[in-house]
Symmetry: C2
Subunit: 257 residues, 2 copies
C-alpha cells in the first residue's frame, strides 16, 4: 500500500488569487501542482489544509498527495520543488504519512496570526503582511471581547459566505491571544487564533470586530451579542487579507511514518 | 537664532540608488528633500547620519536641516511628509535640536544589523531584507572571530573604496553580537554591529568575512590577521546590500530641545 507525501510551505499571498487551484489564475496550489507534475512526470492532485483567500499569506500551509508507490528522498524533493515552484512560495518541509492521511481532514488544529500596526506611523518592513490601523487600540478591551468567542459556538456571524444555510457552522476556538511584538523594529500587535477549523474569512471578521472594540466604538460585551445573533451584519468589517497568515497546522503525532 | 529640524526615517532600500542625493536617480535623500520643498515652499538641503548604499535599508536613519526660522508642529510635519514622500520611505519621528546640530557630525554611535538566513530553505517573509546563506554556520566560531574587531583599529581591510589613501580609516567598534532570532516564524541570524562610525561597506565586508569563518573555510584567528594586513584582498567577500539595515543612530541627550 502506498503512503502519502506531505509538504509544508510558506507563501506571500500578495501575488496569488488565493490558495485553491482555479483555471487560468495564479494560485498557490496550481503552482505547486505544476512543480510536482514536472518532478513526478504525471499530474498530481493535492489537498491543502486551509483554502486561504487571495492576498492571505502562509507560514505553515500543509499539502498532501498520494505517493502512488513512488516515494522520493524528502530532502531531494525539497530542493527540486524549491528550484521549480517560482517566486513567492517556499517549500519548508517534506514528510511521509500513512495512506489515508489528508492535509485537510487529518488536521486537529489550525493557527492563524493577524498582524496589526496601530498608530500614526505606517509600517515599512511589515507593510506587506500587517494592517495599518490609524488609531490607538485598547488591547485590554480587545482581550475582554475575545474571551466571548472561546469554546464551541455557531460562528455564522463571522462567516462571509452568503449562503451558509445548510452548512454546519459550528466551530471550536481554543484560544485567542493578543500580544504586542516588535518585528524588525516595528511595534506590531499580533492576534493569534487557534481552533479546530474556520469558516470562510472567519478570522478576518473576528479581527475586524475586535478592532471596533479596540477603537472604543463598541464595548467588549458586544462581541457576545454579535456571536449570538448568527447574523453577519451584527459583526465588524472584514479585516484586509494581507494582515493574515496561516501560521501552523497540527496533526496527531501518529500520522507520521 | 534658528534651530534644526531632525527626522528619523525607515526605508526599504530595494527601490533606491542609495541614500545620497544623485541627479536623475531615485534616492532616499532626493525624495525626502522634494517632499520638504513642497512643505516649506523653498529648497531644503539635508544632512544624513549614514550614506547607505543602493539596496541597503534603514529602520532609524536620521536627517537634519536648518529650520530657517520656520519650526512647524512636529506631528503635523510627520503627517505631511508621510503623505508626500511616497512608497518605500516612512518618516517615523520629527524632533527639534539646537542650531549647529548635524545628523552626521553630532552622532556618537551607529548601529547596523545584518540579517542572515542560513540553511537549505530560503527565507520568504524576510526575502527582501535577509541574505540566504545555503550552509550551516558555526556561530561560536563567528563570535570568536568577531572579538578581534572590537576596539579602535585601522579598518582599511574592510573598506571597499579603492582610494582610501590619505583618508583616516581608524574607527572604533563597540560591540558585535551574533544572535539567533525568529522573525515572522523564520530562523534568522542577526549580526549587530555598533561603532562610532563606519567606512564604505565596512559592515558588509565584516559580515562576508564572518561567513568565511562560519562556513569553516577560515579559523577565527584569520580575522585578526586580515585586520592587521590593511589589505582589502585579505578579507572575505562583500555581503549583499539587501541584508543590511541602518538600525539606530545615537546622539548625546543634550542635543534635543
Amino acid at each position: 500500500m502506498s503512503g502519502t507525501i506531505v509538504l509544508t510551505l510558506s507563501y506571500d499571498g500578495s501575488g496569488f488569487a488565493g490558495f485553491a487551484r482555479q483555471p487560468g489564475l495564479q494560485t498557490v496550489q496550481g503552482r505547486v501542482e505544476s512543480a510536482l507534475e514536472t518532478v513526478f512526470r504525471r499530474p498530481v492532485e493535492t489537498t491543502g489544509a486551509g483554502r486561504t483567500d487571495a492576498g492571505v499569506h502562509a507560514l505553515g500551509q500543509v499539502m498532501s498527495f498520494s505517493a502512488n508507490g513512488n516515494e522520493p528522498e524528502p530532502s531531494a524533493l525539497l530542493r527540486s520543488l524549491n528550484a521549480l515552484v517560482g517566486g513567492g512560495i517556499v517549500v519548508t518541509g517534506v514528510r511521509l504519512a500513512a495512506a489515508g492521511f489528508s492535509a485537510r481532514h487529518s488536521a486537529v488544529a489550525r493557527e492563524y496570526r493577524y498582524h496589526l500596526v496601530p498608530g500614526p506611523v505606517p509600517p515599512l518592513f511589515s507593510a506587506r503582511h500587517a494592517w495599518w490601523v490609524k488609531a490607538t487600540l485598547d488591547v485590554g478591551a480587545m482581550r475582554e471581547a475575545a474571551k466571548h468567542l472561546i469554546g464551541e459556538h455557531d460562528f455564522r456571524t463571522f462567516c462571509v459566505t452568503a449562503s451558509a444555510e445548510g452548512q454546519r457552522t459550528v466551530r471550536r476556538i481554543e484560544r485567542i491571544d493578543i500580544t504586542p511584538e516588535v518585528i524588525m523594529g516595528e511595534h506590531t500587535l499580533v492576534v493569534r487564533v487557534v481552533g479546530n477549523a474556520f469558516l470562510h474569512s472567519m478570522v478576518r471578521v473576528i479581527v475586524g470586530s475586535l478592532i471596533e472594540v479596540g477603537r472604543g466604538k463598541r464595548p467588549p460585551g458586544w462581541m457576545a451579542e454579535s456571536l449570538r445573533s448568527r447574523d453577519r451584519a451584527a459583526a465588524g468589517q472584514t479585516a484586509p487579507p494581507h494582515g493574515l497568515v496561516l501560521w501552523h497546522v497540527t496533526y496527531p503525532d501518529e500520522c507520521w511514518l
